[in-house]
């Protein structure tokens, strides 16, 4: 939720698609999946894991997603998808950040209000 929000907010910085260095292996797969990623609502959906996924499962999911969306293997996608995948992984692979994120999306049954919700934790790694 918060992830997609702030990503849209970046519209002031134009999307820097890296020039494709080679022809895409399969356009169909990339197109199909990239729309799926954009529609994704939660970090769990970005990585395509269950909310109950274990740490090794999240790691494995990140790797397999990287193999499909990293600009080295899918230059047509331009790297934006991988950035999103990496951000999701960065949050979900860190137990503290994941717990905080779970709280913010109300996964534990009690949605938290207040400053926690408005902060874009999973995208802000620079401070």
């Amino acid at each position: 939720m918060a992830g997609t929000l702030s990503f849209a907010g970046l519209s002031s910085c134009p999307n820097l698609a890296s020039p494709s260095r080679r022809t895409a292996r399969s356009f169909v797969a990339i197109a199909e999946v990239s729309t799926a990623v954009r529609r994704a609502k939660s970090l769990y959906e970005v990585l395509r894991v269950k909310e109950t996924a274990s740490a090794p499962e999240i790691k494995a999911a990140y790797r397999s997603m990287a193999k499909r969306f990293h600009p080295d293997v899918a230059p047509a996608a331009g790297g934006a998808d991988f950035l999103e995948i990496h951000r999701a992984y960065k949050t979900l692979s860190d137990p503290t950040a994941r717990a905080r994120y779970d709280l913010s999306i109300g996964r534990l049954g009690f949605p938290v209000t207040g400053p926690l919700r408005s902060r874009r934790w999973e995208t802000d790694q620079c401070w």
Binding site: S6, G9, L10, S11, S12, C13, P14, L16, S18, R21, R22, T23, R25, P56, K59, A60, R63, S64, A66, K67, H70, P71, D72, V73, P75, G79, F82, L83, H86, P115, S118, R119, D124, Q125, C126, W127
Partner: protein
């Protein structure tokens, strides 16, 4: 540079090879330009193959001999130049240590003891480098020397592969600044090569390791267990450490660190030990001194190599003029002379473990590569720190980097292999932090080192003065807390900041590194509390600076003082 033509060998002994090669007309080659030795490799359709020169060498000495009109790197010559000839002042070598450095750099100063001419004026511009041709010092540049050498490597590969080579993956040291990388790209452009990727050497080794893990898993039908490897690479010029986590053919670089320190420093330490006035011995660059210094270098190099297999070695060189070096060098003496260097190696490894958030117990494999890995002390210290008995086997310490580069070349050229041996990916990380000048001379990092590439991060800054309308964005790379300790990459000005008390305007600075490691900096004024731009942002591709970039920072300070400064916003306020 004039177009070069090469005769294509007409006798096709290997028609099979031809087919494979023509199937990948644009396959990038992997090149490892070492400080001391170079190699070229390519994916041949089933595996990585190192190319050999006509003297059947896979590893070729990196130097360019300047003689009469045509400089030559000796790659494809029938007869190799002897070491004595290379140390005669006519050849320029160690280019990788000199490229992209200014004449105030200690590494450039240390190179003044080399037989060719390295002259410095200590004002922060590129050093003067020259080779002795017919008793005259003829000037050149590290980029030019690299380009001449690359042209020969390219020609050698074209003759063997019977096609034109346009693209290449080059390995570089971890500690190379972005400015140095542009110099390497420039040398490649001069040689007619398009650089697809510049890979830090240990990450190239990591890719090879990932492939080996992937293949062995296929054999054992194991699951995708994560394996963590520490890669220590020390060649003649540079020392690098990287930690990689590998599973399912994906190699994720967790941390990497490097410094300019290698076999050349070890050699100089020993030379200093043997000849206390070594630094000044060659200062006059007379022919006799150059010649005797060459002899001493050859003897010392040889002695250091021998110390890896024997406890002591005798060095006996007549330097002329009654000067003589006759000494027995034993291993403990050698280790004592280089003790500071070994300590620095230890620090690098420990810091890399901390950066990767691993302990020695987490490391599954210890991989040692580079020529200096033969030194017993280095082996024992790396194994000791990783609490290991044995090194990882199955990786050639001199060929690993170039093999990884060739694999990356195949992967980046879009080649897939039915057996799955190219089903690989490296998730690279930034070796150095990137940020801007803020709060006076402070360095505010926006992308921290060891961030996965591609990366994109933004950070808000504010004005340092009341009613400040303009601000300078000065971009640096490095780990120092103060900007002067870091490399300046470029600068630009943001205008049209709405007049307001200091600390209220919001300036967003976004840094973007794409998969091919191109850095772009975007900055502009945003409405406080929102992400909305007041006016169009400015996007600048970095680095923008040429030589003498140290001067630019001084000129900016002289011209503007602190009037266009930026300040960081306290963390709590950055919502």
């Amino acid at each position: 540079m004039a177009e070069q033509f090469y005769t294509v060998a007409s006798d096709s002994e290997n028609t099979g090879d031809d087919k494979v090669q023509s199937a990948f007309p644009d396959l990038a080659i992997g090149i490892d330009i070492g400080t001391s030795k170079c190699s070229v490799a390519i994916w041949n359709g089933t595996q990585v193959e190192l190319l050999r020169n006509p003297r059947n060498q896979k590893l070729m000495r990196s130097y360019v001999m300047f003689k009469d009109d045509s400089p030559s790197g000796g790659v494809s010559e029938e007869l190799a130049h002897g070491e004595q000839e290379i140390f005669s002042g006519s050849a320029v070598f160690n280019m990788k240590r000199l490229v992209g450095r200014v004449d105030t750099d200690p590494v450039v100063h240390a190179s003044k003891t080399l037989p060719f001419l390295v002259q410095t004026l200590d004002i922060g511009v590129r050093p003067f480098i020259a080779a002795l041709v017919n008793n005259v010092w003829r000037s050149t540049t590290p980029e030019e020397v690299l380009a001449i050498f690359l042209v020969e490597l390219k020609a050698m590969a074209e003759v063997q592969l019977k096609r034109r080579i346009r693209t290449a993956i080059l390995t570089i040291p971890v500690s190379f600044s972005r400015f140095q990388k542009t110099r390497i790209e420039r040398a490649c452009a001069m040689a007619g090569l398009h650089v697809l990727r510049l890979m830090p050497e240990p990450t190239s080794v990591a890719l090879l390791y990932a492939q080996q893990q992937q293949l062995s898993l296929h054999e054992n039908m194991g699951s995708g267990i994560e394996k963590v490897a520490l890669i220590f690479n020390m060649g003649a010029g540079y020392c690098d450490v990287a930690i990689t986590a590998t599973a399912g053919g994906v190699s994720q670089i967790k941390a990497l660190l490097g410094c300019t320190m290698g076999g050349e420093d070890i050699l100089q330490n020993v030379l200093c030990h043997l000849l206390p006035n070594f630094d000044t011995f060659c200062a006059d660059h007379s022919m006799d001194k150059i010649k005797s210094m060459g002899l001493l270098r050859i003897a010392t190099q040889d002695a250091i190599h021998k110390l890896s297999s024997q406890p002591s070695v005798i060095i006996n060189v007549d330097l002329g003029d009654g000067n003589k070096v006759c000494k027995t060098l034993n291993r403990s003496e050698f280790e004592e002379v280089n003790s500071k260097l070994f300590e620095k190696c230890e620090k690098l490894i420990m810091q890399c473990l901390v950066d990767a958030k691993f302990t020695a117990e987490d490391i599954n494999d210890v991989i040692l590569v580079g020529g200096c890995s033969n030194i017993l002390k280095i082996r024992s210290l790396v194994l000791g720190l990783c609490k290991r008995e044995n090194l990882y086997e199955g990786i050639d310490l001199l060929e690993a980097a170039v093999c990884g580069a060739a694999l990356e070349g195949a992967v980046a050229s879009g080649i897939s292999d039915p057996s799955g041996s190219l089903d690989l990916l490296t998730i690279q990380a930034t070796p150095l932090s990137l940020g801007i000048r803020a709060d006076g001379d402070g360095f505010a990092a926006i992308i921290n080192r060891n961030t996965a590439i591609p990366a994109r991060k933004d950070m808000l800054f504010t004005t340092a003065h009341d009613n400040q309308m303009e601000a300078l964005i000065v971009v640096y790379e490095g780990e120092g807390k103060k900007v002067e300790e870091n490399h300046l990459l470029g600068y630009f000005k943001i205008t049209g900041i709405p007049p307001a008390p200091k600390g209220t305007a919001e300036i967003s600075v976004c840094m973007d590194i794409d998969a091919s490691d191109v850095l772009r900096v975007l900055a502009g004024v945003v409405l406080p509390g929102t992400q909305n731009a007041v006016s169009p942002f400015i996007e600048v591709r970095m680095p923008t600076l040429g030589d003498g970039h140290g001067w630019c920072a001084q000129a900016l300070a002289k011209m503007y003082g602190s009037s266009l400064d930026l300040a960081t916003i306290p963390k709590k306020l950055q919502q």
